[in-house]
Subunit: 257 residues, 2 copies
């Protein structure tokens, strides 16, 4: 079998340690092409650039035969550009990350890492987003590597569906303490925002968005539960947002009142 | 019954004709507070501002007793700021739009209009996003107004669930030609991107994102079908992205190879 072509991207920017670690794992599995933002894009959700131009730069890292492009756009832009403009053929799989910080539960909707993976899914390419529950730039990604390799190989071998994108989160645990892999649902949890209100030197009010993460979902089939117990969470994620269960109820509404 | 408190926002910016039309309808239904971006935010998806500060300005439009705030952030930021900082009490409903352009089918994932509504849903507030299939700044919103009023009143009367956000799209038809309201699922349709590659005066390549919208979903229960036939589409939309149907299959994968 020919080596799979693997598109690697992220939201932390092409120089983030997370993506450098992800590239090093993917080199063992297939041919790698990197198209990633030229600067950090955390919290970009599924933003795309429609009222502005996009630039790319081809980068040749020292001692590397891998083709890399940095892009001025969002994570979703990177995937669109890669697939439709930069790559000679459709990649076999797209991996995004490793994100510095959690994309579990409701974080998935704010996540640039996952939006890149979801964009690949929309374009018909199987995709996985990887995130580590450690925000630090110098987080230790080495315990994750064997698991990332196993999950990616399993996705290729099992012919992962493009319309089911994997959201993989890792607990911040040292080598040997990760208990294994759990397939989960997204926990019903959310942020309770607190805005830190300050005053500029010119006397104008401004805010920093902060908040506290609250999980009231006690289910043992959730990503939050798995991560707390020391497991890697794998949530199958879709981009058909229809609440099919609500259609019947809505059809009973009287819109004429 | 006390008048409902209605939070109005959008992604086209506080001065867009779409939101001005939405405000004029909401004034007939309840007490209105507006918190909207100070500039257009189309295509922002569910972006939030975490690496930068947020500013708000209180605006007092001429001949208006409505409190309005413009905000430097994204549509999702506006909703977070409104609910957690600017409003004295929780709004009874949040409406977003009217977007100049479609948010049907896959457009929902790129939509700032819908991300604002979804953010309200995440915060426990029933929410509706309204969009018109006409991109023009001077689009005619008047045929929509009676329908927007009916849908919003129905949502309040039927105690809409916060975890099911309504994505409402209007066909661009003159008064009297809209056939009615259809509850739909999101069509399986997507954009086939084409990048318009140009060269700057300095000789550097850059791109504009363009594309063609392709709908291969022939279902007559979809939003695309309803809109094409002259109906208003109402898609119940959720922020639990779990592909529950895929969990069983994923649990059969062997991750140890």
């Amino acid at each position: 079998m020919a080596k799979p072509l693997i598109l690697v991207t992220n939201d932390g920017g092409i120089n983030a340690p997370g993506i450098r670690n992800l590239i090093s794992v993917m080199k063992e599995i297939g041919d790698v092409i990197v198209v990633a933002p030229d600067s950090p894009q955390s919290g970009m959700g599924h933003a795309i650039t429609i009222n502005s131009t996009l630039h790319t730069s081809r980068i040749t890292p020292i001692n590397s035969e891998i083709t890399e492009y940095s892009c001025s756009g969002t994570p979703a832009d990177c995937v669109k550009l890669a697939i439709n403009e930069l790559l000679d053929r459709k990649p076999d799989i797209c991996v995004s990350g490793i994100n510095h910080g959690s994309n579990s539960s409701i974080n998935v909707v704010y996540s640039g890492t996952m939006s890149a993976a979801i964009e690949a899914g929309i374009e018909g390419i199987p995709a996985i987003g990887f995130s580590l529950l450690d925000y630090r730039w110098n987080a230790d990604f080495s315990p994750l590597k064997p698991f990332i390799e196993k999950i990616t190989r399993a996705a290729i071998q099992n012919k992962q569906r493009a319309d089911v994108v994997l959201n993989v989160n890792f607990p911040a645990l040292p080598e040997g303490e990760i208990k294994g892999i759990r397939v989960c649902r997204q926990a019903k949890a959310n942020w309770v925002e607190k805005f830190d209100k300050r005053q500029s030197p010119m006397g104008r009010d401004y805010y920093w968005l902060t908040g506290e993460f609250i999980n009231e979902d006690k289910g043992q089939d959730t990503d939050e539960w798995a991560l707390k117990e020391g497991y890697i969470s794998v949530v199958p994620t879709q981009f058909d947002l229809t609440a099919h269960h609500a259609i019947q109820e809505l059809n009973s509404w009287n819109f004429e009142n």
